[in-house]
């Protein structure tokens, strides 16, 4: 079973497409439609990577990441922001909140998958789950700047 990824986006289309990209690359994908939905799922289950939008009702992406970083099980879990907002200030806010990588929509499947592998320290043929030991060191939080 591939590494477990949570895709968080209030846009059904974006959520489905990102999930499709990741499933096609062998990842085990779950979906959440906003920050609070995601946080609940993250607490009930365990995930290897979180991919989140920023502008979402109820709980936005920055708040979600801040809460994740304050949760023991997710202090080091790779987080990728995927947003339509492309300003440098948006990106730096994302990194300040604790994201590892910032990707601007529309997302290219190859970029997204490469970033996930990079953060997990895996290759395309080796998307390991957290249940098995990772073969590579995870990238430091600031090194995955898109």
């Amino acid at each position: 079973m591939g590494a477990k990824v949570l895709v968080v986006d209030d846009s059904r289309m974006a959520r489905e497409l990102h999930a499709f990209m990741l499933r096609s690359a062998g990842f085990d994908v779950r979906e959440a439609e906003n920050g609070s939905d995601a946080f609940e799922k993250l607490l009930c289950d365990s995930f290897d990577v979180v991919i989140t939008d920023i502008n979402m009702p109820q709980m936005d992406g920055y708040e979600l990441i801040r809460r994740l970083r304050a949760t023991k099980a997710y202090t080091d879990t790779p987080v990728i922001i995927v947003s339509t907002e492309s300003e440098a200030t948006d990106k730096s806010r994302g990194f300040e909140a604790g994201a590892n990588v910032y990707v601007v929509k529309p997302t290219r499947p190859a970029d997204l998958i490469a970033n996930v592998h990079m953060l997990l320290g895996t290759t395309g043929a080796q998307a390991v789950s957290s249940k098995t030991p990772s073969t590579g060191d995870r990238a430091p939080r600031s090194s995955g700047v898109a």
């Binding site: 289309m13 489905e16 497409l17 499933r23 920023i54 502008n55 936005d60 920055y62 339509t84 529309p106």
Partner: protein
């Protein structure tokens, strides 16, 4: 009034978070437009609770003043402020559409996207033309958001324009494909068929998902081709689309369509390494229900790769049941395979039991002495469903199994079997030493035909003194079921017994009997019994039989010294919705020393729905000293009442440390929301 607004506005700047939140809530209640600027400022409050209250207040006030004041917030640097503005505008709805459509041409691409997103959430067709123009936006994210919004609105006039932008980049094509699925109709279906030939696999996937939503049978052949696609997610989407298409067509068309679907590639997909693909293939096969798929489905049910996927095994069972096969030989062949695991055998025996074909009996019976208890349990459960004269004998034997679950299944199975066959068991084992056998005999005797009933009473009477309580109760209930004069005489004798346990047995028998004048008369004797347990059991029997009680009997039970009697009577009043007793039940709810009785009273008040019930329950919840069971009862009753005044206290209880109370409070709030929405719908449509 003026001063009040000013005071509340000043409270919005208080250092205390709850002061600010309450001020925002009160300003929303007052609906005074002068509070709007301050409430818009409160959208930037650091506290999420205050922002939520400000959103609610602005949404309630509504109107042009709020819209004009909120629009600039869409340009805020703070994401939560922008989101709050979107939510307010969405809540205001239709009146905000004109203002938002102007922003669709804004210079700032982020503002254009927020405007488009919010228009999609409002869902008004009035935004349709502006959104169509936005499909040409220079920024692909804005164009994609416009396509998504048009799908949310289900704006059919947009289809030609959506088709024309299909030459654009793949992200936009995907979004258009999904939106066409939401819009639906033959025109959208044709466009989607074009898209499943797209060079980008992501677009193909999106088009297949949408073709399922459209459900147009003319697309079936195109979707079938995608079952051989190399991408598992695409295959899964194609299977899902086929299932949706079959679900949407009328039954006659469905029969013809099912014949067009070739089984071979579908059955091959049952061995696909991806569980999701296997799941979708099983769901589709359940919909098709073709007898030729039986062997493959039996293999899927027993396959080791499905052992950890309960959902897949359930689907395989459903698919087999949907076939309703007369010939179960393909399943028996799989069961005969030497390498079959006990778990797989269980699955197959279970499905054979559900199918109930006599041809399966011998094979299922051959597992009745299996070394694994899990297998024997399933055999015991399944045998009663398979039509065979030998089933009672095997089940009677299973009553002495070393595994308790097996014995339980066997006893239940025997209870469902018919009398003609049962007689043989009784006569074969009249003095069997096993208590379970004697219990089974009691049940079986109850199902005798009329000619044997007198003999059955003679057979059952000694069992009333059996050393095992279950056997004694089974005998008493069987006597009640027989219900002839001889049986009632035995029960009446029991009612006069000095031993309380014997009198309890009599009530159990009367509860199992059919209601008639004799039963009613005997139950009234039990109602006056000096033992509280007998009296309470009699009340429960009155309840199950639907026999009337007079006011004196009800009052006496409500004032009984024993809580079991009081609780049983409140449960009866609740069951029959006898709301004229609401004052007495309210009194008990407030003052009864037993929390179980109070809980039952709370539930009764919820069922009565009498005037004042909600106030009593809400007031109770404000007392911190209440027993958790009483709180739970009050919350459950408030769920039934769906009274808006309970919202605050229920919201507070969602954070309760007791998970049962917090879950009940969530359920009650959901009921309240549903009730509010139901009440608000006619007004909204006006």
């Amino acid at each position: 009034m003026h001063d009040q607004v000013a005071v509340l506005v000043s409270h919005l700047r208080s250092d205390d978070e709850s002061d600010r939140r309450m001020a925002a809530e009160d300003l929303g209640t007052m609906q005074d437009a002068r509070a709007v600027p301050a409430l818009v400022d409160a959208l930037e409050d650091p506290s999420a609770a205050v922002r939520e209250a400000a959103i609610d207040a602005l949404s309630t006030i509504g109107g042009a003043a709020v819209i004009r004041a909120v629009l600039p917030a869409l340009r805020s640097e703070e994401v939560y402020v922008r989101n709050a503005a979107c939510v307010v505008l969405r809540n205001i709805g239709e009146p905000a559409v004109t203002h938002l459509t102007q922003l669709v041409r804004d210079d700032d691409q982020d503002v254009r996207k927020f405007a488009v997103d919010t228009l999609g959430l409002i869902g008004s067709p009035a935004a349709g033309e502006a959104l169509i123009r936005a499909l040409d936006d220079v920024n692909v994210n804005v164009a994609a958001a416009a396509a998504e919004a048009l799908g949310q609105i289900r704006y059919r006039p947009a289809i030609p324009k959506m088709v024309s932008v299909m030459q654009a980049n793949s992200w936009l094509r995907c979004t258009v494909a999904r939106s066409l699925g939401q819009i639906g109709g033959a025109e959208a279906g044709r466009a989607l068929v074009e898209l499943i030939g797209d060079s980008d696999v992501m677009v193909v996937y999106a088009a297949l998902r949408s073709l399922g939503e459209v459900g147009d049978e003319s697309s079936l052949q195109y979707v079938l081709h995608m079952l051989e696609h190399e991408n598992a997610a695409v295959v899964e989407a194609a299977l899902g689309a086929l299932e949706q298409i079959l679900s949407r067509v009328n039954p006659q068309v469905g029969v013809a369509l099912r014949r067009q679907i070739p089984l071979k590639p579908l059955l091959a997909l049952l061995r696909n390494p991806e569980p999701q693909v296997r799941r979708s293939a099983l769901a589709l096969l359940a919909k098709i229900g073709h007898p030729d798929s039986l062997a493959a489905l039996a293999h899927a049910l027993a396959a080791p790769e499905n052992r950890d996927h309960a959902e897949l095994r359930h689907l395989a069972t459903q698919a087999i049941l949907s076939i309703k096969p007369r010939d179960v030989a393909p399943i028996l062949e799989v069961l005969h395979e030497s390498a079959i695991s006990p778990e797989a055998a269980c699955e197959l025996i279970d499905v054979l039991g559900r199918l109930g074909q006599p041809a399966a009996f011998d094979v299922v019976a051959s597992y009745s002495a299996h070394e694994q208890p899990i297998v024997r349990r399933v055999v015991a459960r399944s045998l009663a469903s398979i039509d065979s004269e030998r089933a009672p004998l095997l089940l009677a034997r299973a009553l002495s199994d070393s595994d308790g679950h097996t014995r339980a299944h066997a006893a239940r199975g025997l209870g469902t079997l018919l009398a003609g066959v049962a007689e043989a068991v009784i006569s074969a084992r009249p003095t069997d030493a096993q208590p379970e056998i004697r219990a089974a005999n009691a049940w079986l005797a109850a199902t005798f035909g009329p000619r044997q009933r007198a003999d059955a009473v003679l057979l059952l009477s000694p069992l009333l003194k059996d050393e095992y309580p279950d056997v004694r109760e089974a005998a008493a209930r069987a006597l009640g079921t027989i219900g002839n004069e001889a049986a009632f005489s035995v029960l009446q004798t029991l009612l006069n017994d000095a031993d309380e346990g014997a009198r309890m047995l009599a009530v159990a028998g009367l509860a199992a009997a059919r209601a008639n004048a004799r039963v009613e008369a005997l139950l009234r004797i039990a109602l006056a019994d000096s033992a509280a347990a007998v009296c309470a059991a009699a009340i429960r029997a009155f309840m199950s039989h639907g026999i009337e009680l007079n006011a004196g009997e009800i009052r006496k039970a409500l004032q009984h010294a024993d809580s079991r009697v009081r609780g049983a009577m409140v449960a009866l009043l609740s069951d029959r919705k006898l709301d004229t007793w609401a004052p007495e039940v309210t009194e008990l709810f407030r003052n009864d020393p037993n929390p179980r009785v109070q809980y039952t009273c709370a539930r009764a008040l919820g069922r009565f729905g009498s005037v004042g019930a909600a106030e009593v329950l809400i007031e109770c919840l404000s007392h911190a000293s209440n027993d958790p069971l009483v709180v739970l009862g009050a919350v459950e009753a408030l769920e039934a009442l769906a009274d808006e005044r309970a919202r605050d206290v229920l919201t507070e209880l969602t954070g309760c440390a007791d998970p049962e109370i917090s879950a009940a409070a969530c359920a009650a709030l959901a009921a309240l929301d549903a009730s509010t929405a139901q009440g608000a719908r006619p007004a909204a449509s006006e």
